[in-house]
Symmetry: C2
Subunit: 314 residues, 2 copies
């Protein structure tokens, strides 16, 4: 504990150090003796990604007075790997062929090895977290929620029960829970008091909701190349924000071709704008939770991270 | 800690109590709000299975003087769920349609939900283990080994590199590691000294190797109905003991139709007998490790468990 970082330059150097350690931890724990697991893990990890979850964890930790970013790197790496595992499995179920601007693991190694690579990334999470004993329950519950959210989504598409309410349940489970866990774990590692842990939990949760809403909007509007993953998948499969936020509140029920129907609604309606407005509200609400924190560069960076979520274009 | 159970009747009642608690723990942790996860988990769990891994953990615990079987039930349930998760994912990759005498999760709910159910069972493992802090690394490493073993197997089939040596590597990783973890965790929960933990680790490991060899033999010879899973899958896919133990030591290299080639070798050779002999040696070696333990009903039951592994016919 070195006290709260107040200089922007020092924060930037701490954060960079932490993020480098996160990358190293992810590569080390996935350095399997089994070639295909090592290669496929490196493929997906080296493709980049925003690393927003480890950033959130590191910045929370720094904003609450934590000083040893290398100690925190492993839990931050675990959270990113959990997300990565779900992405690899998601690309199997969605037949996604592009991910982070590269062919997906599924596209290169096929379904069997993609399934096993996802499983492997998951066991890597478990290995990384083993020494961080009191934090396991936070990440374990978020992991369960993530899988439940993915399943609820697949069920809603299959059973044609995709409403705005179901959509919010899905993104709370599949995205916001892991963002919350990142913030909570960062706060706990900094030995924050319960009030601050709770405030950061809400910050993470609301930022996570906003992040997913924007992600779903980008999935609809972004050009395939600039987004770097197979876009429109969520729409073609009858899920995502446009369906859920369509004027009748249950876009799917009367839809035969979801893609066409959603495009039409986008032309005539203000669905996307409404979703953006909701994401902005969520981010404002998240930022309000930070008032309990003392001023610092890390606190400012948390605010910027939240704003970046709604301002990003890819 | 109530001291070592010496009466067979008392042991049987303790073991039964433990196994009931294991079933309850598995049902409780998989009682998801998401219907398909709950239903698919119950489907595979209520189909039974031998529960050999939780038995091994419970008996080890009792043989080393542990007395609170309900405290031990959650780690035992976690180990069984880990195995179950791998089974559900295995049935996706193998197109297995029968499992434990019932349609597989894959056959009923389809690939997407089978993949998610396996993931969910995995997160349930993580949740169950969270309170058992010092044991997480043992189970995490076994989980990684399990996935590595499954992957090595799939790679060996794909790349035609299935030799006896590779076969032994595979079963060590995919089966023996989890058996070892069960015994180690049972011993640690009983607060055994390091010498006894090591002895039980070797016991579990060797029993696990023997278990998998016999499982692969049964996969070849057993009637589909009596085995309760799609049999011959391992053979048709060019893996399993008969390929690895074939006279030339690398049955796959010159094989065009693995099933036919293996059948022929079985007719003319003594491959199966050799594999059985190896399993018997492993079990004898396992039982020898138990000499460090004081005599007790639980110790006898561990010996019986090891012998059952090579004597079972389904």
């Amino acid at each position: 504990m070195t006290g709260i970082v107040t200089s922007p330059a020092k924060l930037s150097s701490h954060l960079d150090e932490g993020l480098v350690a996160v990358e190293r931890a992810m590569l080390e724990v996935t350095d399997s003796q089994v070639e295909v697991l090592r290669d496929a893990s490196r493929h997906i990890l080296s493709a980049g990604g925003k690393r927003i979850r480890p950033r959130l964890l590191l910045l929370t930790y720094l904003a609450l007075g934590g000083g040893d970013v290398t100690y925190v790197a492993k839990p931050a790496a675990a959270i990113e790997l959990m997300h990565t595992a779900s992405v690899v499995h998601d690309d199997i179920n969605d037949h996604g062929i592009l991910r982070r601007g590269r062919p997906s693991v599924n596209a290169i190694w096929g379904r069997t090895f993609a399934l096993l690579t996802g499983d492997f990334l998951f066991t890597a999470v478990y290995e990384l977290m083993a020494p961080y004993q009191h934090l396991n329950i936070d990440l374990a519950r978020a992991a369960t929620a993530l899988v439940e959210g993915e399943t609820l989504q697949a069920s809603a598409v299959k059973n044609n029960t995709f409403t705005r309410e179901v959509y919010m349940d899905i993104i709370a489970l599949k995205t916001a829970s892991l963002f919350r866990a990142a913030a909570v774990i960062g706060a706990k590692l900094a030995k924050a008091d319960q009030g601050k842990i709770n405030a950061l939990a809400e910050f993470g949760y609301n930022v996570g909701l906003a992040f997913q809403i924007i992600d779903d909007i980008l999935d609809i509007v972004a050009d395939e190349e600039s987004l770097g993953k197979t876009s429109g998948i969520d729409v073609r499969q009858g899920r995502g924000v446009a369906v859920a936020l369509a004027p009748n509140g249950n876009g799917n029920a009367q839809v035969i071709d979801p893609v066409e129907a959603i495009k039409r609604k986008m032309m005539e309606g203000d669905t996307i704008d409404k979703a953006r407005a909701q994401a902005t509200l969520l981010v404002n609400s998240a930022i309000a939770k930070l008032r309990e924190l003392p001023e610092s560069s890390a606190k400012s960076a948390l605010e910027e991270l939240a704003l970046m979520v709604i301002e990003r274009e890819t």
